[in-house]
């Protein structure tokens, strides 16, 4: 029976440590100590953009197609096909994009960080850094966090363009129940600049948590090559659940009390 409870128990064990580690890394960024390694932060941001941007955008694009498709057929089944834009606006901006972003960031960036830092840890490179008088937590983890904060807002904004284009393609061109003008009218009516900001906040919180969790599992990896693989797998489990919980809490906080729609009293 106990094996069934291993996963939640493991989280309870490591949750406090991940929190403490995360606060420590974020503290290095906020206190400005990371700016000693600002070049390294820019390099990490560059790696993030060149290594992951295309995959992130492709993933976001596919989710946008799916959003438009399901929305178009749902609106047909309630007899209001011209309102497909309402579904796409909500699905793209408020929910779909943060989740797609969270999934692919935890898969590509989070596990990538674990693999990289874990390999450094078990080949004793992190200890070597310490011997050389460089704070490894600042040089390895805080620079990655700052790099993510520099690069990710821009990746996110380009992702919004792509997810909108994808939904347009699947609603207007693939299913074709509604004209281009009718779709865009409803689509733009049901969103506003604050929605964009809220969505961006959701995405950024997810990205921060993913980078911190990745750094934690990589920094504390042990047990040889096998240990690195296991740590990578564990970070993915933790990140998936964290992404869903942040997504739900963000929805409750930002749109729970007020749906922010241009109708009603």
């Amino acid at each position: 029976m106990n094996a069934w409870l291993d996963v939640p128990r493991g989280w309870l064990d490591s949750f406090g440590e991940i929190g403490r580690f995360g606060v420590q890394v974020a503290g290095q960024v906020y206190s400005g100590r990371v700016f000693k390694f600002f070049g390294e932060s820019l390099r990490q941001a560059g790696i993030l953009i060149f290594g992951s941007a295309l995959i992130i955008w492709a993933f976001v694009f596919i989710l946008g197609l799916q959003c438009g498709l399901q929305g178009a057929y749902f609106n047909r089944s309630i007899g209001a096909p011209s309102l497909a834009g309402l579904f796409s606006a909500y699905c793209d901006l408020r929910e779909g994009l943060p989740y797609a972003f969270g999934y692919i960031l935890s898969a590509k960036v989070g596990t990538g960080i674990v693999a990289e830092l874990g390999a450094m840890r078990i080949s004793d490179e992190i200890d070597a850094l310490e011997v050389m008088g460089i704070q490894p937590i600042t040089f390895l983890c805080a620079t990655r966090l700052l790099g993510a904060w520099i690069a990710i807002p821009f990746l996110y904004l380009v992702g919004i363009v792509l997810i909108y284009a994808a939904s347009y393609l699947s609603v207007v061109n693939q299913v074709g129940d509604v004209s281009s003008g009718g779709y865009l009218l409803i689509f733009w009516m049901y969103q506003s600049p604050p929605d964009l900001v809220f969505s961006l906040i959701k995405g950024m919180v997810m990205a921060t948590v993913i980078v911190l969790v990745g750094c934690y599992y990589g920094y504390t990896a042990s047990g040889g090559p096998v240990g690195v693989g296991t740590a990578t797998a564990k970070s993915m489990v933790f990140n998936i659940v964290a992404v869903h919980i942040i997504g739900m809490l963000g929805t409750v906080v930002f749109w729970g009390a007020n749906p922010r729609a241009p109708i009603g009293g």
Binding site: L69, Q70, Y73, I104, I122, G224, M248
Partner: protein, 247 residues
């Protein structure tokens, strides 16, 4: 190369002898033990946030909160159920499979098996492949149940009686929705198993190699699952007119 592995897996799954029975049961229980709790939290949170509260908010402005049931057929059964099951299984079980097989590859256990005359595809990949297909089908039902209970919670948060929710839920749901959801999810399990096994069995490069293999495996698996779901749901929605009838 992944297609070759897929074909080899399928052929050795059906051709006798069948030495993988015990391993199959073990893998099935392993994946189930690992994934049930993340899946429970993930589907509940996602369904409560995205379709639950967002849709309930807009439907309450229209005064049509009973329509949430019909909406949950679309979201929880056709879309999010299989999708989140695949994401969680890829993230939890797929990564574990890649880490396990990758470690065996690095320690040259796979080569040793081959020298002993044991086929790694038949004895290691086939049980994981079949186990993941069974597990995703089972977990998909589980995800749908959790998703619908999240819908009920959203309805209760808006102080609505549940009769309208269930009425539109059952009048909109069709058998096609359910079997296509389960079938789609079984296919996702197969995709995840093949991608993750392949990446694990071709890991190389020492310590960093296994970690990198897990990284690539989960990215490829997620991309493949998302793309495959778009294609399959386009086909199913377009070829089954009873899914689009106005009710």
């Amino acid at each position: 190369m992944m297609m070759i592995l897929t074909v080899r897996t399928l052929i050795s799954a059906v051709r006798s002898p069948y030495p993988y029975g015990e391993e199959l049961v073990w893998q099935f229980l392993f994946v189930l033990k690992l994934s049930w709790f993340p899946l429970l939290i993930s589907t509940f949170a996602l369904n409560l946030g995205a379709p639950g509260l967002q849709a309930a908010g807009i439907l309450s402005l229209f005064g049509a909160l009973d329509r949430l049931g019909g909406f949950f057929v679309v979201i929880a059964i056709r879309w999010i159920g299989p999708l989140v099951t695949a994401v969680v299984v890829a993230g939890v079980a797929g990564t574990a499979i890649t880490a396990d097989l990758g470690a065996r590859k690095i320690r040259e256990e796979l080569d040793a098996l081959q020298v002993l005359g044991v086929d790694p595809v038949k004895n290691l990949v086939v049980p994981r492949f079949l186990a993941l297909m069974f597990v995703t089908a089972l977990l998909d039902i589980f995800a749908i149940v959790m998703g619908l209970s999240a819908g009920i919670v959203a309805e209760l948060l808006y102080h609505q009686p549940l009769g309208g929710f269930f009425a539109t839920l059952f009048s909109n749901a069709t058998i096609t929705d359910l079997w296509s959801s389960v079938l789609m999810c079984t296919m996702f399990g197969a995709i995840v198993a093949v991608v993750c096994s392949y990446k694990g069995m071709s890991a190389s490069g020492g310590a960093a190699g296994v970690g990198r293999a897990v990284n690539q495996a989960v990215v490829i698996a997620l991309m493949a699952v998302f793309f495959f779901q778009f294609v399959v749901s386009s086909v199913i929605l377009a070829t089954n007119p009873e899914l689009q009838a106005v009710r």
